[in-house]
């Protein structure tokens, strides 16, 4: 079990160099059946990561480039009149795939955004009174440009909460960048050649294993103290919700699993905290490190 997660991470690390921690978090998100939000400037490898992830996991993959004129039906699909059978046939949109990459989600109009986010939460699409379930597993990776860029519609807080994790890849270090320039990583063309290390059953087993990771009382208390700090210190206008606490607990367990442990440590909480809480606390990616460090300094680890 431990080997499979390691495999996924090492495979993807050959694709995106020097970003093992972010890749691990993306895998954590997948193991927790959550949706992932990647916030970055263009050209940082967001698309590569999501595509690679789908390929490694052996899942079907669709990509939608969000633009301001994209309509809800362009994602969910539409009913088309079938002249031969004299009936409306449902033509499923790109959302009916196991991994959906919603590229530059904040370029679309709020109406389209909410159509996607609704589907993410319900895991089904209702069209003309008919309910069409989405495939299992269903995993949305949305990418987002930093909000100061022009022509963007920022996602509202309530919708940001639907994303399990938010990560940002950031610039590669010098060594990784050198390798990139020299083309030592797998090329985009060879994306499809990534070995598929997982089938659906194996993924389900892994997702079940997350729940078996031991979360000791002290770690739970630490999570509660962290969440309470955001609520009662008065430093945050959007404190963490119980949904965030649940996400923290789950992500902590999954993180411990990727570290091949069957128990969680306070270190695991700290590793996932920024990704789980950052977008929920409405903190921009570049301030995140300082704010999170401040919280860790103020909240003592429970032993």
């Amino acid at each position: 079990m431990n080997k499979t997660t390691q495999d996924i991470i090492s495979q993807l690390s050959e694709l995106i160099l020097g970003k093992e921690e972010q890749i691990r978090l993306a895998v954590v998100c997948l193991l927790c059946k959550g949706h992932l939000l990647i916030e970055d400037l263009p050209g940082m490898g967001k698309t590569t990561l999501s595509h690679g992830l789908a390929n490694v996991l052996g899942l079907s993959y669709q990509r939608v480039q969000f633009t301001s004129d994209l309509l809800p039906a362009d994602i969910t699909g539409s009913s088309v009149f079938n002249t031969s059978q004299q009936s409306f046939d449902f033509h499923p949109g790109p959302i009916f795939s196991q991994v959906l990459l919603a590229d530059e989600i904040n370029r679309a109009s709020p109406k389209t955004q909410s159509a996607l986010l609704e589907a993410m939460e319900e895991r089904q699409v209702t069209m003309d009174g008919k309910t069409h379930p989405l495939p299992e597993p269903f995993f949305v990776i949305a990418t987002q440009n930093p909000l100061h860029q022009s022509g963007t519609h920022p996602l509202p807080e309530s919708q940001l909460d639907r994303f399990f994790l938010r990560i940002s890849l950031g610039y590669p270090d010098e060594h990784a960048e050198k390798s990139l320039i020299l083309g030592n990583n797998l090329q985009r063309q060879s994306l499809n050649e990534l070995t598929c290390v997982l089938d659906l059953n194996a993924l389900a087993t892994l997702q079940q294993a997350v729940l078996d990771v031991n979360l000791s009382d002290s770690v739970v208390q630490y999570i509660i103290n962290l969440v309470n700090f955001t609520r009662y210190s008065g430093q945050f206008s959007d404190p963490l919700s119980p949904r965030a606490s649940i996400a923290l607990g789950l992500a902590t367990r999954a993180y411990a699993l990727t570290q091949s442990r069957d128990y969680a440590l306070p270190d695991d909480v700290q590793a996932v905290f920024a990704a789980v809480a950052g977008h929920r606390l409405n903190i921009s990616a570049n301030e995140l490190n300082d704010v999170v460090k401040g919280i860790f300094d103020n909240v003592a680890v429970v032993l």
């Binding site: 000791s216 770690v219 128990y263 306070p266 680890v301």
Partner: protein, 648 residues
Amino acid sequence: MTSDKLLGGQTLLTTLLYGLVSLLLFNSFGLVFTCAMLLIVLFKLAIYRSLVQGPSEKLVNLLALTVILVVFVAIGFSNLVEMFVSLLLGACALKTIQAKTKKQAMSVQLLNFFVYPCFFIFSQNVLSLLFVLVLLVVNLAQMLWIEHGIALRSAMRQASRHLLLALPLAAIMVVLLPKVSPFWQLPGANKTQTGLSEDIDPFEISELSRSDELVFRAILPDNAQMKPPFYWRTLVHDNYDGTRWRVSAHHDLPLQAPYRAVGENYTVIARASGKTWLYSLGQAKSSTRGVNTNQFGTLFMQKRLSSSMEYQVTPIHTIGPGLVNWQYQLNTALPDSINPLATALATQWDAKTNNTAEFIQQMKLYFVQNSFHYSLKPPVISDRNSIDRFLTETREGFCGHYAASAAFMLRAAGIPARLVSGYLGGEYNAERGYYSVYQYDAHAWVEYYVPQQGWYRLDPTAWVAPDRLSGSLSELTALEDEFKDNLGLSLMSYSNLALVNWVRLQIEQLDYQWTRWVLNFDQQKQSRLLRDLFGHYHKLLPGLSVFLLLIAIFVARFWYLQRKQVVRLPEAVRLHHAICRLAEGELHKITPAQALQVLQSQYPNLSQELAEFNQYFVKSRFSQAQLTKSEATRMKALGRLIIKKAKK
């Protein structure tokens, strides 16, 4: 501001308070020690202002040695109490200079609970009580600040609340706990203040320094016998050497002569004086333990009066065989050939008159006709024939002058006479019905002997200043300015302002109640109060309260132990905390892995042991699997090993 700076501020506050205390006790400590304390305060201030470096250990030891020397030389072993209190004060002040950590600062604050109440050794009035209370509140607030970082204002509020909470408990303990006489007592602090003296030579004094310090209070029965003027007899001076009137060696011999009680009992509440003598109207006997009557009929104690004391007085009249030969000689003794003029006057009057009463009449006539007048600032007469010069040249003086002159002339005529010093008058508090007698009420008068009848009082000052008899000196309008000049700065000097006087009287009354009901709350008063409160069960109460207290202690201990067990950390965590303390910073607040890194970087030679300990620790705290017995033993051993090696 850094925490160091704040800690410095707190200890500076304590040092300043020490400075204030030693200034207030200036009279007891003397100039040298007070200056030494002020120097220490200045030094601390300079350190706080970063004008100078904090002292090295060597310097502090040197300073401590200096303080000890100063105390030994300036105060000395003759005043044991002052010596120990000043040593304590000096040591604490030096500790504040040295204190750098929270723990050291805390130890100073804890010690203050002992240091500040030492103030009571020197003064027990209600103002001192308030002062010490304020000091204790400040001290508590400082402790709250140092330990929990609570801001000064809310710390003060909390500290006051704690003190208020403690008050009912204190009251219950005072009222209910059985009064046991102390097993040992501090020797009283000596007082070197103004007051009566055992030797009197009025002619050497140019200015009578008077203070408004309270000497005693008296509760007199309201009957015809007890009417002013009140002459409070205290010391009898019968030994005259030509300049000084001394108290004879027989002053503390108990009364041998038979006596009978005359009149009603009254109560006197004396303030700590550091002396053995007490105060009574006329001749007196007391039923209070430890209070004796000497052969002059004045009261005295075996020990020095080191704390406030209440005693009962019965007026008596001795029925003696009269003066025996040596007493007659002592009371008529005069040195040869001094004051020829006064002697001549006395012989002249003696020849003219038939009895003592007529002689005194002649003397009164002399004083009244020759325009003598009363003054608190008489010129100094340092002549051998001082009385002659007083009678012929200066003709102004206070009670001592007139009393000494009259006694001299009585003796010159062969009439036994002696000087008596004590207090005259007293301020009446109409609301509570008691008299307060202050140091400025000090007075001197004469007693002369009439054969077969006994001793009679004669106050020659009354001939010159008849107003002096009617009340306290403070009420004497003619001398108002002069009197206030002598007082210096005190509330009494502004007593003509109605509000100030009202405040003064209120404080005075509060002090009276405090002295009466708290300081002098003895077994007798306790049982009376309990009888009033609880009827005839009162005898059981003190025993019952002790019993209840024991039960309360027992229950509290159980409760505490139980509570402690709940909060008790698991052994692994305690061991981890102990290891975390090996390094700087609050390692127990970060994750074990991070703490491990810090520790390994500080103790590279222990890095293997640390890693192994951490492995067991993490397993015991976070994993579902319990440590096996051998693993637990191994972890404990590792923990101890790490601490032991790291401390080397």
